[in-house]
Each structure stands twice: as C-alpha cells, then as structure tokens.
Amino acid sequence: MSEVSMVVNGRKVSGAVEDRTLLVHYLREHLGLTGTHVGCDTSQCGACVVHMDGKAVKSCSILAAQASGSEIVTIEGLANGADLHPVQAAFKEHHGLQCGFCTPGMIMAATDMIRRHPEGLDEATVRAELEGNICRCTGYHNIVKAVLAASKTMAKAGKGKARKAA
C-alpha cells in the first residue's frame, strides 16, 4: 500500500491505495468522481483524459502513486458552479456528442489543446490533435466544430482579460 496525496479539482485529498491502483480508479472508486471514464483500457481511446499539473494525460495509464503530489483536474472541475466552461458550452451548442461516453475525455483534451495553441486552431490541427481520443458515434464532425468554436470564444475572452489587465 502507498499513501498518496494530491489536489483534485482544487481540493486536497489523500488516502492509502494499493500500489497498482490506476489514477482513473483512484478518481472513480476512491473519490467518487465518475465523470472520468474507462473506455478501451488499452491507452487508445482517451475517455480517461484528465489534466495532471496542467497537461492532458491518460489516467488509465498512470498509477495513483505516480500522480501523488500533483494537481489533477477532471471533467467535474471545469465548470464554474452552474456556468459551463466555454468548451463544455461549445459541445452543448454544437451537439458535439451523441452517447456522451467519450465526451469527458474529449473536453479535457480540447481544453488542453486550446491552451497549447494560443495562436488559434484550424480544422486540420484539431483533427490531428484529436489523435488520442476516439468517438464511436458522431464521426467527429461536430466535435471539431465545438473545439474550433470554443477556441475562438476563449481567445476573445482572453483578449478581454488582457485589456483589463493593461
């Protein structure tokens, strides 16, 4: 057993887990955060994507012990109370989901993608960057639309903030 402690969605958590416990199982079964999904369990599908220290990672391929000491954000940590995160709002607006199983991973991947491309995104980049996330319903078209729309919304909001700061 290992003592692990980390900050999950802004809340300090700790506990004893078997060393072989995967981060996704720690989140789902120990913390009850079942928004993070296990899809393929073979590191291909990206349904389990969370942010670790600000970067998108596959929580099904990381041990909770490896993640100890880090800061984790899951799909539950994105919205600000009742206000959806711009990426969540865009997925809703553009119907970027059908069954919704891949959606948490898609949204966590998209927020990371937008962070890494402050210069903006184009369709080809979004499609290439979604390499690690599989959707078996929609054919990606509306997912790509949603990510592009969210990227634009967030760029505008970012500029607004920068002006205020100046």
Binding site: D19, R20, V57, K58, A65, Q66, D112, E131, G132
Partner: protein
C-alpha cells in the same frame, strides 16, 4: 495488473539503490509502454522505480554544436523546445509525431530508447545522429547500444541519464504510420554530418533499428531525393506481419528515405 511496489527515486543514485535492493525491479519514467504492459500482465515487476521526479535527468541544453537531452525529458518538451527546433528540426518533427498529445506529455526519450521497440521513432534518430547514450556508468555510441528487438547494451543497475549529439548540417525524418496504432510501419531518419551521411531505419528490421548501407551510399554521392531513384534495399532481414510483407517494407524504406531527404533539404 499484478501487485507491485512503487518507489519514487529522488536521484539517480537513489534509483540505483532501489534497483539493487530488488530481485525484480523495473524502471518507470513516463510509463506509456510499461504501465499498459503491466495492465495486460505482459510485464509484472515486483518493484517499480519511478525516475520522473529526478531533476538531474530532466531538461535540454544546447551548447555550441552539442545538444544534450535529459533522459526523463518528455516527447512534448522535445517537440516544443525552441532550441531543438533550431538545432535539429527533424528531431522536433519526430517527437511531435509519437503517439498522441496525452502520451507525449508523459513518454520520455530515455524510456523510448531503453525499451528499444522495433517500431519506435527515437532509436532511428539516435542511430542516424550518431548520438551518445549517457548512463550512470558510461557513454555508449548509439551504434553499439541498440542490440535487437527490445534489447540494448544496458546492464543491470544501469540507467540512461541523457543523450547527446552533434548538430548535423541537415537531417530529416519521415515515417509511414500504421493506420491503427500509429507506430512506424517503416520510418527513416537521414542525417548529413561532417563524417558523411547516415540513414537509420525503424519499424522494418527483424532485429529492430538498423542503418541502411544502400541509402547511405546513394545519398553520399548526392544528398537529393533523385539520388535514390532506382535504389533498392534487400528484404531479407525485414519484418513480415499482418500489416505488410518484407518486400513492401523494403520499398517503403526507399520511399520514406526520399521524403526524409526532401524534408531535410526544405
């Protein structure tokens, strides 16, 4: 996954201590190969020694014509580093095409090289760049480091700490990714340095990464894609699997080499 005991190493010497204490320990860095292998019980180490938090193994340094990359540096860090992009854009390109963005945030150059998967990208770069693999014990040229499928010159208790290479005049990498796994079905890294042209092939050889004498001879005459017209590579020691025959891969070696040269000359 079978039971395992996790140890977080604070330094290279601390990692060695953990290795020596266990009969059956494995090093984990990003874990993007090892953890999935443990989940399917293909690997079942009694102890895991985590190298990801060792400061001395992280980071990139470019000093004059020498590039040094710490073994625990992630693919994403290599792919986005401005100094690497300037010194060796082929390596940035290669790193930005390993796996997917989430895998690149965890996977490390040292892990890729130590694992020596026959379809991994980094071994081809190391061999073509004539890189030196630095461990806690010695420095080994890439040509003597990669020994075969998943086999390297690494001894017990030996840990890759960094890789270092001289900036080539020109270099390029192109791979033909498997449409499902995105591993290279064949990838070729070409580098033109002061000692001539080196071309290393991954994803194709039965014994893992290798240098292609045919490609090197042709490109030594003229470092242009046209120099590879009519060149053929023997298929004798190439892989045949459900994805491609040895003959198909032999053809891919020449095609990927041409594309790599186009990229190198761009």
């Amino acid at each position: 996954m079978y039971q395992t005991t996790y140890h977080r190493a604070a330094s290279v010497s601390d990692a060695v201590k953990h290795l020596k204490k266990s009969d059956d320990a494995k090093l984990v860095s990003g874990g993007m190969t090892l953890i999935p292998a443990m989940k399917t019980r293909l690997a079942a180490p009694a102890d895991l020694v985590d190298l990801r938090h060792i400061p001395e193994m992280r980071g990139i340094a470019v000093s004059g014509k020498t590039v040094t990359i710490g073994a625990a540096t992630t693919h994403a860090e290599v792919a986005t580093d401005a100094r690497i992009a300037k010194a060796c854009p082929a390596l940035s390109h290669l790193a930005s095409h390993i796996g997917d963005p989430h895998v690149r945030h965890m996977g490390t150059i040292g892990g890729s090289i130590a694992n020596n998967d026959p379809a991994a990208d980094y071994p081809a770069a190391m061999l073509a760049l004539d890189a030196i693999i630095v461990t806690n014990k010695r420095e080994t040229p890439a040509g003597k480091f990669f020994k075969g499928l998943f086999e390297t010159a690494l001894k017990e208790d030996e840990i890759i700490t960094a890789v270092t290479f001289t900036v080539p005049a020109k270099s390029g990498y192109e791979k033909f990714p498997n449409p499902a796994s995105r591993y290279a079905m064949t990838g070729v890294f070409v580098a033109k340095g002061k000692d001539g042209v080196r071309a290393a092939v991954t994803g194709a050889g039965e014994d893992g990464v290798f240098r292609s004498g045919e490609i090197e001879a042709a490109l030594s005459k003229k470092f242009e894609p046209a120099a590879l017209e009519g060149v053929s590579v023997p298929s004798d020691d190439l892989m045949t699997d459900i994805h491609a025959s040895a003959e198909y891969r032999a053809n891919l070696v020449v095609v990927m080499a041409k594309r790599a040269v186009v990229r190198a000359n761009a």
